[in-house]
């Protein structure tokens, strides 16, 4: 009996310890976020710093995002046509592809791919800079690493995400067009006109809002994981894994919350 009680207490203690640790990390992440915002002045005075990072986070992620978008669009068209033709509304395939991409898949899949490609690169880079004392060296030179290293990467991620999400949706629609019009033979006029009639400007704005929020979440998570990682090879590798897991969960959770608000309003 005493043994079971001791195991129960140990289990509770461990759970409590983990909860406190996660809360502590959440607080530290929020602190980094606010520090990044408050030390962003330097980045905007020297926009070259942001543009350079946009090349590494945004431009270098283009291939994986555009290729994925093309295939996602093609699969959407195939699956959509398969279902719609049963109801005699295969002409609506353009609307289905566009709405699915603009409202959900564009921002969400872009953010997931961004977390896997650019997020991990950011975490590994910052983690290694910490492990090799580059951040300490910067501090000892009286240069604030948050203003010089963290803030430009943060804004580069935030600005890149909506652009990437727009490109994802555009290329996805082209992929859908290729399958629906060129392969299946849906009328090209119906494909585009129905899309034009049913996709609102609000959908585009909502997509931009979602991708902006995902950009903030994914980038700050990647930066925090790198900045907080233990300065060892194992520490950096765990931080990189945590970046993908946390970012993906954050994107999916935030998507649900944002979609709920957008549908209500």
């Amino acid at each position: 009996m005493a043994n079971i009680f001791a195991k129960l207490v140990r289990g509770l203690r461990m759970t409590g310890h983990r909860v406190v640790e996660q809360l502590w990390r959440l607080g530290a992440g929020a602190r980094l976020f606010f520090l990044t915002i408050s030390y962003s002045g330097e980045s905007f005075r020297r926009p070259r710093l942001i543009v350079r990072e946009m090349y590494f986070t945004g431009v270098m992620s283009l291939i994986i995002i555009l290729v994925s978008a093309f295939f996602v669009g093609m699969v959407l068209a195939l699956q959509g046509y398969n279902t719609l033709q049963k109801y005699g509304s295969s002409e609506s395939i353009g609307v289905l592809v566009a709405l699915a991409l603009v409202r959900e898949l564009g921002p969400v899949v872009t953010a997931l791919l961004f977390a896997g490609r650019a997020g991990t690169a950011i975490t590994a880079e910052i983690g290694l800079m910490k492990a090799t004392e580059q951040l300490s060296a910067m501090e000892m030179m009286a240069v604030n690493p948050i203003s010089r290293v963290i803030a430009p990467r943060f804004w580069a991620g935030v600005f890149s995400m909506p652009i990437l999400a727009c490109l994802f949706s555009m290329v996805g629609i082209l992929g859908g067009h290729l399958v629906a019009v060129a392969q299946i033979g849906v009328d090209v006029g119906a494909f585009w006109s129905q899309m034009q009639a049913n996709v609102d400007f609000t959908d585009i704005v909502n997509m931009l809002i979602k991708s902006l929020v995902f950009g903030v979440a994914c980038t700050i998570i990647a930066l925090f994981e790198g900045y907080d990682s233990p300065p060892t090879a194992e520490g950096v590798s765990h931080a990189t894994t945590r970046t993908v897991v946390t970012s993906s969960l954050a994107v999916l959770g935030l998507d649900f919350i944002l979609t709920s608000f957008m549908l209500i309003t």
Binding site: E133, Q134, M140, A142, V143
Partner: protein
Amino acid sequence: MADNIVEIDNLSFGYKGRLLHKGINMVFPRGKVVAIMGGSGSGKTTLLRLIGGQIRPTKGEVRVSGEVVHKQDRNGIFKLRRQMGMLFQHGALFTDLSVFDNVAFPMRELTDLPESMIRDLVLMKLNAVGLRGAHTLMPPELSGGMARRVALARAIALDPSIIMYDEPFAGLDPISMGVICGLIRSLNDALGATSIIVSHDVKETFQIADYVYFVANGEVAAEGTPHDLMRSTLPFVHQFVHGEKDGPVPFHYAAPDYQQELMQRG
């Protein structure tokens, strides 16, 4: 102007319930090369971090140019750090920047100098460490000794009045070690700076240091000129200076009886 540019007064520092330094007193006179020596894990590098204001002391204080470091706000600490240059153990060069850009980094970040003047200054600093010809290389293309010299050029980029060296000789071949050794002394004298060297390489450090502090068990175990310390009869200093295997610092980590442990089964 005070004679001592850095003063460590009754300093204690600890973390996770363990006291690493217990009431340390040290002074670093202007223009001198002062070494802090001691075994691995004796808290030598931590002393440099305390001087640079990267960590706060538990008790006591560090004064740089008469200012108490841990009482400064962020701007005050950054102002003090502009007087300092630091050479990290492995150089800590920015791997995404070329040799030229690494040395130019503090000038571009902290001054409004025109690019043409920065170019001249960078080439002068690199020339001082013998690496002007390597200014286009990237850090991964450098050997350990070259990386250390580039880091030294970066540390002196803004002509600091205090130059701190964290294990400057660790992992270098004898030629690079000799080069770095000579550079530390000559740059200190040419710039009129004060150098603080943290090291456990006795021969090289004794060659260039004016004064040496030995740190052991969180305290200053001995101090004096290299000449005095070479002749010291203090058991710890004798063991350290002559590299003896056993002495006050035991060869074996605390362990149960050897024979008994071997005879134990399962």
